[in-house]
């Protein structure tokens, strides 16, 4: 892997991890489209490189939401010490995040490797990217129908119930499929639970933080493999680039979702997914 390839993959990871367009799908499709055949995705050095990219992305999210994470962790600790739930908003958000993290934690450990073995090639990734676009369009349409039928206003994150939080967590676990976006599926689930776009995006980003960080920490030993030092410079530069890209992405998206919806990303996924699927079926990308 050359330095430029590493930098491009890092920027791609940082941006696509938070935009609802599937980072996993893009890291399969883009190298295939550009015919980067020199990258061995299963090599120890590449896996170490990916760990650093995830660490960079997770750190960017923690830095961006540092004040909220500080309040959440403090409220959770107080709740555990006292052994009871209070009406504190940060504590409630913290427990909702804990509940929503359980499904992806369990399903990730059980299904991640079999799913990637089955679907980790361009054609399935492109197909699921297309499905991801359709999920976003259906989510937006269902939300509009729901709001018209019930004439209900949106609610803030701390008004979610625990079953609703679990539902968002299960939706997030769909992102184990390459091409399905973690933030996209959890945002759609949030919208269906009566969150507005801004709160659904914030809950999705808060929810992504422990998952990305834990996944990176669990894979940390790969950084100390003998082959890892071969990509040390690329990994450090990539981690910084992924972190910066993720920080700018989350800053942009939190502003974007104050007054916009998921449909532009839905169009993007449908178009790119369809084109890549046709190219993969014709054997242009492998």
């Amino acid at each position: 892997m050359t330095f430029l390839q590493a930098l491009a993959l890092a920027l791609l990871q940082g941006v696509s991890e938070l935009f609802p367009i599937s980072s996993l799908g893009h890291t399969i499709l883009v190298p295939a489209l550009l015919h980067w055949n020199n990258i061995d995705r299963s090599s120890a050095s590449f896996l170490a490189f990916v760990v650093v990219l995830h660490l960079g992305t997770a750190l960017a999210l923690i830095v961006f939401y540092r004040a909220q994470w500080y309040a959440i962790v403090r409220a959770l600790a107080r709740s555990i010490v006292l052994g009871r739930l209070s009406s504190d908003r940060d504590e409630r958000t913290g427990w909702l995040l804990v509940v929503a993290t359980i499904p992806v934690g369990l399903l990730g450990v059980v299904l991640e490797h079999p799913v990637r073995r089955l679907f980790g090639s361009p054609a399935p990734a492109a197909f699921f990217l297309l499905i991801n676009g359709l999920i976003m369009f259906s989510g937006e349409a269902l939300r509009r129908v729901q709001q018209r039928a019930r004439a209900r206003k949106s609610k803030p994150i701390d008004r979610l119930s625990y079953p609703e939080s679990l539902f968002i967590g299960v939706a997030q676990a769909l992102a184990l499929l390459p091409g399905i976006s973690r933030s996209g599926s959890s945002m759609v689930a949030g919208l269906l639970c009566d969150l507005d776009h801004e709160h659904a995006a914030r809950f999705s980003f808060l929810l992504a933080t422990p998952v990305i960080f834990a996944a990176a920490l669990l894979e940390l030993p790969k950084l100390f493999s003998p082959q890892a030092h071969l990509v040390l410079v690329q990994a450090i530069a990539g981690g910084v680039a992924a972190g910066l890209a993720a920080y700018l992405s989350v800053a942009f998206l939190t502003r974007y979702f104050r007054s916009n919806d998921l449909r532009p990303f839905g169009w993007y996924c449908i178009i790119v997914g369809s084109v890549c699927f046709v190219l993969a079926r014709k054997g242009v990308i492998t």
């Binding site: 555990i80 006292l82 052994g83 009871r84 739930l85 804990v98 359980i102 934690g105 369990l106 450990v109 059980v110 490797h113 079999p114 669990l218 030993p221």
Partner: protein, 63 residues
């Protein structure tokens, strides 16, 4: 419920150890090919911790 939570915590803790030592290989990528399944150990222990927190919530004095 407190007893259930504690029993579950112990079960998850023991399962974690069994995964860590490679005694059991259910739901692992490499099966018996690897002698240690650290990821599964960590997840089991996190579940054990959550059960202990659940037990703590059951035992605290009510206001």
């Amino acid at each position: 419920m407190r007893v259930v939570a504690i029993v579950l915590a112990v079960v998850f803790f023991v399962l974690g150890i069994l995964y860590g030592t490679g005694t059991i290989n259910y739901f692992t990528e490499s099966g018996a090919a690897h002698s240690h399944h650290v990821t599964h150990l960590v997840v089991m222990w996190v579940l054990a911790l959550l059960c202990l927190i659940w037990a703590r919530f059951q035992s605290a004095p009510r206001r």
